[in-house]
Each structure stands twice: as C-alpha cells, then as structure tokens.
Symmetry: C2
Subunit: 235 residues, 2 copies
Amino acid sequence: MALDKTLIAGLPAFAGCDDDALDAVLVQARSSHVAKDTEVFAQDGEAKFFFLLLSGHIRVVRTSPEGDQVIARYINAGELFGIAITMGRSTYPASAIAAVDCVVLSWPNSVWPDLQSRVPAFEANTYKTIGNRLQETQARVVEISTQQVEQRIAHTLLRLVKQSGRKTADGIEIAFPITRQDIAEMTGTTLHTVSRLLSAWEDQGIVRGGRQKVLVTDAHALMLVAENRRKNSDR
Amino acid sequence: MALDKTLIAGLPAFAGCDDDALDAVLVQARSSHVAKDTEVFAQDGEAKFFFLLLSGHIRVVRTSPEGDQVIARYINAGELFGIAITMGRSTYPASAIAAVDCVVLSWPNSVWPDLQSRVPAFEANTYKTIGNRLQETQARVVEISTQQVEQRIAHTLLRLVKQSGRKTADGIEIAFPITRQDIAEMTGTTLHTVSRLLSAWEDQGIVRGGRQKVLVTDAHALMLVAENRRKNSDR
DNA sequence: CGCGTGCTTGAAATACATCAACGATAGTGG
DNA sequence: CCACTATCGTTGATGTATTTCAAGCACGCG
C-alpha cells in the first residue's frame, strides 16, 4: 500500500518539495513500528538505511570505548536521523533507541543518489540538518567547557522543554519519559547531582519532578539559573 | 594571473576531480596572504566567502556570550574552512585566526551553486568534510563528559601531533606555536592545570615543553596516559 | 635593556563525584 | 488483587580532582 504524502508534506525536511517530489520520495520508503526501548539501529552497525521519525521520540546514544554512555540528542517527530550515508559513512556513529513507541519511515541507502538528483530540495534540507547538528554540538562543547553543572542542566532542561515540551495546567513538561540518569548523560554529570539540583529547584518552585518526568513550572526562573543571574539569597 | 592547478590537485577536497573541474574551481578563486594573529573572518560576521588553506595553520575559535573562548579546531594546509554557506548559514559560527603566516584561497559564496553543479566531486567532498567534523565534535563531547583532564590533554596532544606533527631528532613536535592557554581552551580546563601536567610529563620524559612549543618524546607513554593505563608507580 | 607575554608552582578553596543506604514507584506474576 | 521485584529516585557523609588565588620567573622582541 502506498504511503500518503500528507504524512510528510509540511515537514521542514521537505520544505519546497512539490507533490511529484514527495511521491518520488515516498514510493521508495517503508514505514515501520518501533516498540519502546527497542533499537532502531546500533552504533557501529552497518548503515543500510536512513530514517525519518513520523511519531514518537528517539534517543541517540554514543557509547565510548570505556563503556560510558552519552546522549547525543533526542529526535522529535518530523526529523531525519541515521543519515550516516549522506556524510559518506558506512556505519552508524551512535545507537538510536525508541524512548516511546514510535513510527518511522526508512529508506535503503541505495536510493540516496537517486533521491539526491531527483529531489534537490530534500537533499539541501538534509545538509542543512547536518549543519545545524554540527552547530548545536559545537555549542554543547562550549557549554560543557565553560559552564558549571547547574547552568548546564538548566540549559538542557530549557532546550528539552522548548523542543519537546507539552503544555499542562501547571507548566510545560517534557513530552517523553526521561530519567535523572538520562539528564546526567546529556550534561556530563552524575544522576546524583541531577537529583540534588532538581530537588533544590523543586523547593524553589521552579520545577516539579516525578518518576521519569520533569515539569517546568517557572521557565523564567529557570532561565535565570541557566544564566547564573540569581541573587545569592535565592539559593 | 591564473592560479595553477598543481596548487590544489591531490588535495582530499578535490579527490576525483579531473583537470577541467580543477580549472573551473580555480578560475573563481582568489588567493591571499594572512599575517600571523590576523583574523580571516570573525564570529557572527556575514559569511561572504568560503576558504581553503594552502599553507600555514589556522585556529578556529568560538566565543561564548559570557566571553569564554573555546578552540573548535585547528585547520591544516589543504583543508576547507569557513564553509558556513554549504550548511545554509549566513554568518560564521566562529572566528578563524592565523596561527602563523598563511596563504588561503577564497571563493565568494555566490559561486557555490555553480561549483556545486559543475564539480560534483568537490561538492560531495565538502559534505564529507562537514560530516567528519560532526563526528569529531561529538567524539569530543563524549571525551569531555567522561574523561578527566589528564586523559583529555593527552588525547588532544596525540591528535595535534598526528595531524600537525613535525619530526625532529628527539621526537615529534607540534608544527605551529601553541600556548598552554590554547591547550586549555581545547580541553575545557585552565592553563594552570595544563602547565602542571606538562611539567609532570616532562619529569617523566614523555614530553618537552618550551615557550609556545610542545615536543612529544615518548608517544607510546603518552598513549598509556591517554588511556589511563599507567601503573600507579609511574606517577 | 626593559617590558610584555607566556610559563611555573605553591597554598587554599570548592564544585562535584563517589560511597552508601534507604525510599518510592510501577510493572509482573501468582 | 496483592505481594514481589526491578528500576528509579533521594539524600547524607566523605573524598578528591581541579580551579582559583597569588606570586615570581623566563624568554624573546623592539
């Protein structure tokens, strides 16, 4: 059964593509369901496909030779991922794990050259995506190198809430389950330190925690923390 | 006067380009000299050109809103840099400063679409470059997040020596002037810590320091440090 | 020769990790 | 439906790697 182009029309990845282009892209794609906590692909595995997330949230994890894990990013619905091929790589540089049940489109790498020539807008958007990720990653290096843990966690939380926030009666909450350990792996610290800081912020009415849940109740106050601009009396 | 294609033939950036392609690329380029400690372009400045380093060494520096500096990378002869345009950016994300006197080729951004269509190999190689930098940057995030300062500095030194090493009678030395402060800005630490560790390594006969100079005399021992595999008695 | 820039090295301070123990939550299976 | 268990979270006490503060030194350029 053919996939309907309304699935992907309007996504940034296909900005500027006309209907024919969308059809050309879709006819080569295959959609599949990925259960929570299941790998879409594994680090160092042969990169046979590239992907688009239709719904859900995916965690991209790099494991160091020593076995330490770092979360490179979270993928939101509408984003491309596993696009190693477009950078001339033959293996995936990280693992991708479904944070919740997901639906993904996948293309075999072999169709990339064809798509590239037939749908230039898609090609350009893909490179833009990579460029953005390079920017973000370099910004992260600056952050880790120059700021202390408290600011890093605050920034990370603000980013998560901005990119994947869900409005609730009491504030904005991160739209997928996330543990203290996950936050630690995004910020280069330990779950203990994350837990302590979240508890402190909870006392100050900035956030509200929960098992695999973070709800930001006072985004403005959190911004002040991120920029280290609170008065000492606030602590 | 036209530039000679022997200048750039054989560079990885032009792998697979035939003579006509090289001419097409070169005829649009302009070469210029950049004095030591001079900026090639400035962070947040409008990205009007992209560049290729013909000779010398260039330091790419990102400055955070708070004024902290981080060295994103060093560019060696033969590498492309300032390629913001290819990622859909209109400003440079970092500054580029000549670490020594340099010779660079530059192209106005406006020729990119033309080059892209007429020299596909050049285009593909450019994207490969960006992909490699994304990989490296992500690896750096993992390193900063999981390893301690000593290992990070050791790794960084090994990388510098590998990419820009110059063989001497007593070992391999970094081929351009680099201060302790520079090394600190590459590893997310302070010049004091760098200085202390280099001094300690000098006592152990692993490196030899000097004003704006580092000479690695025992790369193997430095590797053991990088992997934290020394016996305690070594310290 | 003097001055700026880079380097060294001690002593004190601290942010954060580590160690350790316990408490809470949610899913599972009887 | 409730007990069981795995996973996740909290929080105190202790330890330490690294920064910060401070001072003096050395190299090389004009």
